[in-house]
Each structure stands twice: as C-alpha cells, then as structure tokens.
C-alpha cells in the first residue's frame, strides 16, 4: 500500500499516529533515564544498563526521523455526483486548473503521466507518475516512478455526502523531498503548511466544478497603492495584503482623537 493510502487509512482509523508519537517520546525519555542510572552505578552491570538505556533512547530518536515526508491533506464538499467528480479528477490534465503550483500534467500512456511543477524563480520540477490504483467513481491513487527526482504519492477518495448534498472528496498527497535544491524548491512550493495549500487548491476545484469559474480580483482596477503594499505584492502577488497600512492609519487616527 502506498504511503498516502496508508495515511488516509490511518486518519480514517484514528489513533495510530498519536500512539507512534507517544512511543517515540517515552522511549527517548525512559531510555535516557535508564542510561543515566546505569552510568551512575560505575560497575559492570551499570555499563550493561547504560547500554540498554542508550539503545532504547536511540530507537526512540530514530523513529522520529523516519517521517521526513511532507503531507498535504484536505477534503471538500462538491455539489455534484461522485461520477462527475471522478470524471474530472481522473483526467490529470485538469489538475493544473486548480492546483496553482502545477504548470502542466500530460499523459504519456494510459497509466503514466508527466507532471511539471513551478518553484521559486521559475525553477521547474519534473517527475513521471503512474496510476497505482483506480476504482471508478470511488478512489484514484498515483505515485511517482522509482527513478524520479522527487517522491510523490497521492490518493483521492470520492464518497456520497449525506442528504444528497453531493460528493465529499478527501485528498492526501505525500511528498518526500530529496536533499539539495530540488528539495528546497519543493519545500518552498508547499509553504509552511502543506494542508493550507491543499485547502486552497480544493476550494478552487469546488468553484470550478460548481460555478464554472474560479473567483478572482487579479487584474481589476484600483486607486494608487501605498509603497509598502506594492512591495508586498511584488514579493508575493498571490497573497492579499493584510492591511498593515490600515493598522498604522487607525493608530494615527487614535492619536489624533486622544
């Protein structure tokens, strides 16, 4: 089973992740304490105890470093049938319409596709993926081919929402970035919170499927912007400015009033 599918299952089943974390910490702490006791004994048995404690502590720490992947997970309600949602998603060429970091996805064969993501400064990351699992109107899983630059592994699940409200889709994508500049570029694309990015992607998907277009204000007219806002926009055109000018404006007005 792929990593993304496992995570999907784990989230569905509940507590395993928390238990893993708990094991890690308790092993590190208990192991460390046992090692200290052993060292304080200054005898042969003490050395043995210290070694055992050290091993336990090491196992705990090792368990922690195993999960290096970046996980993006989210779900959304679509006002359409699972068939329609499945139809749309199963054409991977559609994904760049709402996943902003993707430049294109092209089919190479029935099961293989080439994905191109755009990173900072136009840096492109290219990988080929294959369909790992596909059940019509229910689930699609895909993963990068073994010799790809990065490891990507994704799953999307479609299910009927209660009360005929449409389809709830749940998406999990796992990335394992390599060391070096490609890994850095990938981390930059996904941002501090990969789940947040996935939420925005799915919100655009929802608008596209339901309203037929993605709402936007990019390119609309406006009056003169302040220097601060213009600079912020230059750094990241996608990010709305949170109104820093407003706060100072309010503070100035308050000072005047008082």
């Amino acid at each position: 089973m792929s990593e993304a599918a496992r995570i999907h299952l784990r989230n569905a089943l509940g507590r395993r992740h928390r238990m893993e974390t708990a094991f890690r910490w308790s092993a590190m702490i208990t192991g460390g304490a046992i090692a200290l006791i052993g060292l304080s004994k200054r005898s042969k048995s003490g050395v043995a105890i210290a070694t055992a404690g050290g091993l336990l502590s090491y196992a705990g720490a090792k368990a922690g470093t195993r999960h290096r992947e970046l996980i993006a997970r989210s779900s959304i309600l679509l006002n359409c049938t699972p068939e329609e949602a499945y139809q749309f998603w199963s054409k991977f060429e559609n994904l760049p319409l709402f996943m902003r970091h993707l430049e294109s996805v092209n089919l190479l064969s029935e099961t293989r596709s080439r994905w191109i993501a755009i990173g900072p400064l136009g840096r492109r990351i290219v990988w080929d993926a294959e369909i790992a699992f596909d059940r019509k109107d229910d689930v699609i899983a895909w993963r990068s081919l073994p010799d790809s630059e990065i490891y990507v592994d994704g799953i999307v699940k479609f299910r009927n929402a209660p009360a005929n409200r449409g389809t709830i889709i749940t998406v999990v994508v796992v990335y394992q970035p390599p060391a070096g500049s490609i890994g850095g570029a990938l981390a930059k694309i996904l941002g501090k919170d990969p789940n947040f990015m996935m939420r925005q992607d799915l919100r655009r998907l929802k608008a596209l499927i339901e309203a037929g277009e993605i709402p936007t204000i990019e390119g609309q007219s406006h009056g003169p912007r302040s220097g601060v806002a213009a600079a912020a926009r230059l750094i990241n055109p996608d990010e709305p400015i949170k109104g820093k000018g407003t706060l100072t404006g309010i503070a100035a007005a308050r000072r005047r009033a008082s």
Binding site: E213, I214, P215, P240, I241
Partner: protein, 400 residues
C-alpha cells in the same frame, strides 16, 4: 474612470483609475447611473474593518446599464443594454448555500475565502467594496463596475421608473426588510427598532408591511426620529431617557416588545461607565465592536421573543448577556442580506406604489463631493440620512 478610493482611515479620495474589464466568463461591466454611500461604509471610513488596502474602490449600492458581458452568460438572462440594480452580495447561484436561498453565504464568490475563514470559521459570500477579507472586489462608487456572476445577482428594472425609487434595492431596502422578516412578526406584534438610519427606516416600514401593530423606534437625532414617526412609529430619543429598557417595559405593560432589532451594529453610541470601557477596549483592539444596542435588545425583549440583528458586527464582543439570553428563551436571527430572495418581490411593491424608497434621500451630489459627504454622513451634519452620488455630473456645476 472616476472612482472613490479608500486611502486610509478617514481618507477618501476621488481618483482616476483604469476602466474595469471582464476577468471571468460570468462577469459583466455596468455603467453606473446612481450609487450611494451606505452606513456600513462608515465602518470602513472610521478604520474599524480589518483588511482594507489603500487604493481600494468603495461602494456597494449601485445601479446602471450593462455595457459588456462575458462569454459565460446566457443572453436570455442578461444582455448589453439591460438596466439593472446590482445587489451588494455576490453569489454563484450553484453551491449548496445558494440553492438553499442563503445567498449571502455563497461558498464560491470570495477569492480570499481563507482570510474570513481564519476569523469566522467559514467565509460568507464576497461583497463589493468591503475589505479584502470579503473578497476585495472593487466597489461601485465609480463610473463603471465589474459585476461577477452577473447572471445571478443583477435585477432588471423597467425603463419607466426613476433611479431614486429602485437604487435602494441594492442593499438597504432588502436589508431592512430581512431585518423585519427576521423579527418573526405575527399580526399585532410590537417591534422595537434601535437605529433610525436608512436600514432602520426601511425596517420600520417593512415591520408594518409584515403585520406589526406597534413599532417603537429609538435614535438620538430628531430629524431621523421624525422620519420614523411619519411612518407611524412611536419614538424614543434615548438621550432624553434614563433607562430605555425600563421605558420599553412601561410602554408595553411590563411584557416587553415581541421583537427587538439592532439596526445599529458595531459603532453604537451610549453613555456611562460601560461606554468608557467599550470605547477604550475598541481603541486598544481588545474588542472589535461596541455592542451596547445588542445588550439592550436582549434585556428589553419579552420572554420567548426574537432579536434580529441586521446591524454589522466585525468580530468579538464583551459582556454579552448570555445568561439573560438563555434564561429568557430568546431567538436571535442574523446575517448579511440574502439579496436575491427579496429584490424582485420588493421591486413589485415599489411598482405597485406601496412604498417610495426615495423618502430616505437627503443629499444628491456629484461623485467628486463623495469624500466630504462621508464626513457629513458620519457626523450626521446637515440632517444627513442618505447620500446618492451621481458619477457623471460635472462637479463644479452641480455643486453650485
């Protein structure tokens, strides 16, 4: 084109900006014939709403003529040349909420959904000219505006009826009406309405339309109370009264009004120590709103009654009388107006002559005078109740 731009707290300016263009298939461009300043614009003017940016185009009450439509619009629904009133809420018409007629809760019209999501858990619909948190859409205090999802929102109006009678279908008339509908009025009920601004005025008239026997209106400006009285309301000037809640009890045989409406919102004025505390907290950003009208509504409302809140609130409030609200078995109904539910039925009422919404207009000025009118409206100078802007008037001539 000319547009009224927010350039900072208490800084409005008429700027020349590029004309709007179609950005999405379901967009239309409207050449604006009449546009207004809304009471809720004053919260932006005063700088209490977060996520404004200098340069944002203001305004969400406007009407005009369709001059361009996008490729995604069905010509049966809207075409170039149609005369339309544009609602202030933007709705896609196809999501779960639109299909439930909860138009102001549309899921697909706010491009900055995540910003409102952070503050409220979920985002309401996008709004024209009302912060980036609510979409950042350029507003309608301008000569032209881009209208997204134009096959859903704009209401076609016939040529014979003047702008003054229909422009308020863009916000305040439906907002007052929904405020009254949210009062859950049964024939013979007594409704008390805090705030006799434009929304309050329409709420008073709507409450009578919906069968209320008595409407009690509260404000502190005599000229606004007079307008309320003309509609048949009993009036209270709260600055001349020690205890509004006690007076309402006295007026209703100690049972209290069946419904209480807060048509004031986040910038209420009151007095005493609680005013000092609320005002100070708001200044220090410890709470975003001054909620004393809401508190009074809850205290005054009869047991089992309804509190309706069309007044705009921004975020968090303190000293909410929750125990009173719970123990008295009250219901509260709120929301930005679900515009598309009300525009057509209310247009029909106007056409039948049941109401002439132009009664609320106190000032008609060219758009160039908008910045000073914000101050006049905010400070209630010159008996100001409602300002209508003409985007095309020659400023010098019309001012003379």
């Amino acid at each position: 084109m000319k547009a009224v731009c927010w350039m900072g707290t208490e800084k409005m300016s008429v700027e020349t900006v590029p004309d709007p263009t179609i950005l999405n298939p379901r967009d239309a461009i409207v050449r604006i014939s009449s546009t207004c300043i809304c009471g809720s614009d004053l919260h932006l003017y005063d700088g209490y709403m977060p996520t404004m940016e200098p340069g944002d185009i203001m305004g969400h009450e406007f009407m005009g003529e369709v001059v361009e439509i996008g490729a995604g619009i069905d010509r049966e629904k809207l075409k170039v040349g149609d005369r339309v009133v544009v609602p202030f809420t933007i709705a896609c018409g196809r999501c779960f909420f639109c299909q439930q007629q909860l138009w102001s809760c549309c899921d697909n019209s706010n491009p900055n959904y995540w910003m409102a999501e952070e503050l409220m858990g979920y985002s309401p619909s996008g709004l024209f000219g009302y912060t980036h948190m609510m979409g950042g859409y350029a507003g309608g205090q301008a000569q032209y505006a881009r209208v997204p999802f134009a096959d859903v929102g704009p209401l076609k109006v016939p040529a014979g009826i003047p702008d003054d009678k229909v422009v308020f279908l863009s916000d305040i008339f439906p907002t007052g009406y929904m405020g009254a509908e949210n009062c859950n009025i049964r024939p013979g009920d007594t409704v008390t309405i805090w705030g006799c601004g434009p929304v309050g005025q329409f709420a008073i008239r709507s409450a009578f339309m919906l069968g209320a026997e008595r409407v009690i209106a509260i404000d502190r400006f005599e000229y606004r109370l007079q307008l309320a009285q003309q509609a048949g309301a009993e009036i209270i000037n709260y600055e001349e009264v020690d205890d509004v809640v006690q007076l309402l009890k006295d007026m209703t045989g100690n049972i209290g009004p069946d419904s209480c409406m807060d048509a004031v919102g986040m910038e209420a004025h009151y007095s005493g120590p609680i005013w000092v505390i609320d005002r100070g907290k708001q200044a220090l950003r410890m709470q975003s709103d001054r909620p004393n009208v809401l508190r009074q509504c809850i205290m005054a409302c009869r047991k089992g009654g309804t509190v309706s809140v069309p007044g705009v609130y921004g975020g968090f409030i303190d000293k909410m009388p929750m125990g009173q609200y719970m123990n008295k078995a009250l219901t509260m109904k709120t929301g930005q107006t679900h515009m598309m539910r009300y525009m057509k039925p209310l247009l029909e009422r106007v056409e039948r002559g049941e109401i002439d919404p132009s009664f609320v207009i106190s000032h008609r000025v060219p758009i160039d005078k908008a910045p000073e009118m914000y101050k006049v409206f905010r400070d209630k100078q010159d008996h100001c109740t409602k300002v209508v802007l003409d985007p095309w008037a020659n400023g010098a001539r019309a001012a003379a």
